[in-house]
Amino acid sequence: MALTGLDIYKLLPRTNCGDCGVPTCLAFAMKVAAKQAALDECPHVSEESQEAAGAASQPPQKLVTIGSGDRALKIGNETVMFRHDERFHHPCGIALLVNDTDDLDARMETVRSLSFERIGQIIDVDTVALNCASGDGEKLQEAAGRIQTELSLPVVLIADSADKLRPAAEGLSDGRPLLWERGGPSDALVELAASAKLPVVVEGDLEKCDADTQKAKGAGVEEMVLCPGEVSPLETLQFLTVTRRATLRRTYRPLGYPVLVRAWAQDPVQQSLEGCHYVDKYAGIVVLEVDSPEYVLPVLVTRQGIYIDPQVPVQVEAKVHEINNPTETSPLIVTTNFSLTYYSVLGEVEASRVPARILTVDTKGTSVLTAWAADEFGPEQIKDAIEKSGVFDQLGEGYRKPIIPGLVAVISGELREELEQEVIVGPKEASGLGRFLNNEWPKLVG
């Protein structure tokens, strides 16, 4: 959070000595606020003031790193309440709950299976919440160690006392597990987290979180994650909103940490829906117990959507994409360069196993109908794109018949005239492409 000129002025000696090259302290403060000068250009500024200014210029919500290496989870540092005000920056972790008494090989296989490719991105369960169901800290450490080495994923360690977390925290501190002592942190855990330099969960209502983060910070714990505990979905949502507001609107640092929530509903459908809610509204980590893809996938897709940068149209390169090794007798499918559109078409073409080319016309990343309405996907633009790509040179005489989306069937006549080639109207939805390519296309090219 940037300091105002007045905030900075209060940190200066206020002697107006002019040694900084500016006549008054206030004028200097204004320059610092406008980032035209650095605070240390005043030779008389005290060390305490420098520290205060340094702390105040930190982002209001702490960035917390859990795990290590490529798959480390970085959460926090969020800057806005609504994605349209800028964007959400650090996608929340989706954690699967595992007990240290489970068949670990099977559970790790489940975690690996919860990984999907969607719109050109991998979306997956990227965190493991490991519960000390055994009641044995050694056992927890052993399980955590295996997860860290075999899955390389960040781990949240859950136990009902600091004792049980100690072996794993001390033995595996390089892997930066997040320590969650239920109802904690106790003084013992704070001490453990401070000496092992590990992030820690602060669980409770707002007042308790407020007090505990300050206490833990005083004891040397840097990275913390808040958690409202086992409360209703409505209370959880409100906790998420209030902590984010206090942080961003009031720069209230004791609550300036990301939030871990668990979807507690017993019914798997409701648990999944709860997860979707928390992802949309500010969670830093969502812990799920459901582990079948049908329940987890909606939560992952919700996360993928809400963290898209709204300022940047989601688009793919405008060019000819070759699928399944096309030849000169393969169909040419024309669509827009909006990611969602392209990947829908791509998925269907791949599944059809028909070798084909997809020409993505540069519509600035808008969908077929939007682009058509904005004159970005009309006969002229399509003709230009075809000519520029030189794709007709790769096609035999009788195969230069672009297939256009059924939604813009109205332009087929004009496009035919422009191209002096036959134009084929394809299905309205990408989902119809498989059948179309396998059954209709062969007939249309004789």
């Binding site: 349209h84 004791p254 409701q270 979707c276 049908e294 898209i308 969602l340 599944a351």
Partner: protein, 321 residues
Amino acid sequence: MPVPDVKEKFSGVVHAVTIGATSEQGGSRTRTVTIGGETGLPMLSFEAEYPHRPAFALEVNTAGADDWHSQARKHVGEVAADLEKWAARCEEWGADLVCLHLDAAHPDLGGRSPEECADDVKRVLGATGLPLIVWGADVDEVDNNVLPKCTQAAAGENCLFGTAKEANYRTLAASCLADSHKIIAEAPSDINLSKQLHILLGDVGVNVQNIVMHPTCGALGFGMVYIYTTIERGRIAALGGDVLMQQPVVVNMGKEIGRVKEATSPDEDAPQWGKLDVRAPLWEAATAVGYMEAGAELFIMRNPEALQQAKTAVEALWPKA
């Protein structure tokens, strides 16, 4: 230092819109449904009022359900050939309203005449006591022929009719005014287009308090986040006092689910996604709750199971009035 008070007070309020009329009110509905009335962003009961719960409608379509995806058809298939049975079943399935889509009026889908469509409306009104939404065929000329007859046929029932679009709003606006119905104003995912349309409707005499807006809609993972943000921005503007955005929001989402592979691909094609009979309704319910988070109040769904799941989620989430 105490935890700062971060409550926000807004100057604007979302209009409450009531759909349906009971016999005392000159209609024949057994109940009415009111949506809107919130004084804050969704579900923040520590600072705002939430007098009415979001409402859920099930779609009944004059063109049947043959082209619906398998998991929605599984439920409605046996009644889809009979509008009256279908509409009656919606009540058993837990719908708050019935949404009659007049797709069969579309020239490609049988081109049902205005009189036949009006008769469809009457029969549905006779078969269910739930308040009714009537949705045209989304072809301007067809809607302009068909909807006036339908508003007449439903006179006194205080239905919600749609949709009025910027390029085609006069006929429906006049019909809704004449027969005292509420109206859906549809503007594709753009606040300024919405406001413009509300002004146009106001100019022809529609009270802005009788409008429910439809920002168009996409399913989860299929354009939803764009509309989510449109709704959220619109709601922030509304609460900030922009009277042209203070209409409650409807999303006609049932048919969008059919476009999502994750929600419709058969198990044998997509074993990695898990069981279709779970995926399909859950995807629809997740789409609904996502839009609720942004501010939508009225959901038109296809799969009764998804409707029940979304309603259960609302029970756990929506602040008690």
